[in-house]
Symmetry: C2
Subunit: 357 residues, 2 copies
């Protein structure tokens, strides 16, 4: 059972909710655009499905609707931003904009952020750079759900990495992926359907391979990309660790197992090692390396060569970003399906703020 | 059957070989240090085992022993370096040094390199940054051996990524990994032993899973980290693609399936899309984000917290770089074992240049 909403309906509803949380009109408009971009791109776990979670974090006073977001340290190519406990959905665009300004001035810009919250999909922020012929990067740490290789403890988040690279005639290359075998959102789908997960996605509390999608409730963990040692899980662990360190140790946010949980019913660490959640953004001007037109023509060649690679019968080789771009078009035209439990959450939020639904 | 050599013996032999190839004394000393650092760290596939391959590339006139390595474009935080077909073992340190100089000046430095050759282990170059309290990064594209998700064609190299992050009392965090399930060197070990590979490492020429370590000779391919789509191979493909684009499209080197093969018996592409092989280096001054001492203390906490994470009985959670650092100590003290086929190659090289062995 699902309900189909238009993009504009979802975005307007979200905007109203953020306004009722006390956000400025400008912040509410931006935050709703960022949040619902996840639904448009088909990353349902990071869009409207999170809205009630943000409201609960705000009720728990873990989100400041009127943050004083500011640079606390900088050099010509770097900055650290304090998000003042604001919505990651507005802190991240602020920080990405600084990265791009620095890239415009000195070739590249790199911004580490502390004291923030969940920022939606990493891809949205990385793609901002495309408008200015820049390569964009975005990453974030997140609630600890992932066990490093050989660990039975959850030490890292699903810590996504997004990289957006402009092309000329071809659509841009947009990679946006969790550094785990499977994103938590995929596990949530199996939980709802009560279906088994493949081996390599999760382990139980003792570190044994498990197919039970509910394992995380019993002390189990998601696994780093690779799944197990023999298949390179130490590499997925490295990636998740690098994202954690760039996002949270460079900025002074909470890192590793201290990263604050997204769900408001879990307590914050009594001994935080930093402030809030951390992100990391990068922008590299293409013409800081070679003429943008030359680079983008080469990217066209790269993309068409890979798209036309010989493939397994019935399959084709995709370019990172292809599925999400097609979904964006499809959902913009035909609407966004929202599953019943999320519609129920939306109704509760609407009732709380006395909004039309 | 293997022979044990001292580090100094291997390094001196390698230095002599590079001198006889016509390298300057300075370049020969540097190249031998970089090459044999792989053996010290236990990455046997990238060290002395490659020496005869370099000699054959030089004989095929694909390596220029007296390169005019130079910056061809730059901004305050970026540069593109033309390696003039030199040994990657000397081109890469030159480029990494520029990245560090730029980081010293404006906070970060990013250098893309074209017209180079195999550069040894990525970790060596990334670790250079540690000496100056910088985070170091190094990556390179390589001979196409890897099939993207759903492809039956080999389109990418094993394209490694190295990231080195300084700590205070703790040893540095040093990640250095191929973006495939297993590095080619691991496959070579199975080939020599005639042992099967686990599923998820390789596919046959039709894209079917295979355990045959000799599959690459019959048109098979290595698989991106993740192994198959269900286990996230599209993420490993993204990583390999990003390394390829940063290293080769940003610089103007050959990218994707056009990357030149390391082995001299395979022909170069008749229609190259760039010059030589490409690399990418980055350096970020830690104090461009926050005081270095604060950062490094936090890294100590990060490292000790992860090292002491609850583990599967009989196992412990490692920090990236731990195994290589221990190997380095062990081999510096007790010597470096070299397998018989490599010793045979060394003897042939010695005979060619009339060197003592």
């Amino acid at each position: 059972m699902e309900h189909i909403f238009s993009y504009h309906h979802l975005r307007e509803f979200t905007r109203e909710v953020f306004i009722h949380m006390g956000c400025s009109l400008e912040h509410a408009a931006l935050a709703s655009e960022v949040l619902v971009s996840a639904d448009l791109r088909g990353i349902d776990s990071h869009g409207i499905a999170r809205l009630s979670g943000y409201v609960r974090l705000w009720e728990a006073k873990r989100i400041n609707p009127r943050p004083n977001i500011r640079i606390i340290h900088e050099t010509p190519s770097t900055a650290v931003v304090d998000g003042d406990a604001g919505l990651g959905l507005v802190v991240a665009p602020y920080a990405m904009e600084i990265a791009m300004q620095k890239a415009a001035a000195v070739g590249t810009g790199w911004v580490s952020v502390k004291n923030s919250n969940h920022f939606g999909i990493a891809g949205y922020h990385a793609m901002k750079a495309l408008e200015q012929d820049m390569i964009g990067m975005a990453m974030t740490n997140a609630s600890p759900l992932v066990a490093p290789t050989f660990s039975t403890e959850r030490m890292l988040g699903t810590n996504p990495i997004a990289v957006a690279i402009p092309a000329k005639e071809q659509p841009a290359f947009v990679a946006d992926f969790a550094t785990t075998t499977a994103a938590n959102g995929k596990l949530e789908i199996l939980q709802r359907k009560n279906e088994e997960a493949p081996y390599g996605w999760i382990q139980d509390k003792n570190g044994n391979p498990s197919k039970n999608p509910h394992e995380l409730k019993d002390g189990g963990a998601l696994l780093p990309l690779g799944g197990d040692r023999e298949h390179g899980s130490h590499k997925g662990y490295c990636l998740g660790a690098i994202v954690d360190i760039f996002s949270a140790v460079l900025s002074g946010a909470n890192y590793g197992p201290w990263a604050p949980p997204f769900v408001s019913f879990l307590p914050l660490s009594p001994n935080p090692v930093g402030e809030g959640l951390g992100h990391f953004f990068g922008a590299m001007r293409v013409d800081a390396f070679r003429p943008a037109d030359e680079f983008k023509s080469n990217m066209d060649t790269w993309i068409s060569r890979f798209r036309n690679a010989e493939a397994i019968p019935g399959k084709k080789v995709l370019i990172p970003g292809d599925p999400e771009r097609e979904m964006h078009q499809e959902r913009l035209e035909n609407g966004i399906p929202v599953i019943a439990p999320v519609v129920k959450d939306m109704k509760e939020v609407a009732a709380k703020f006395n909004l039309n639904f």
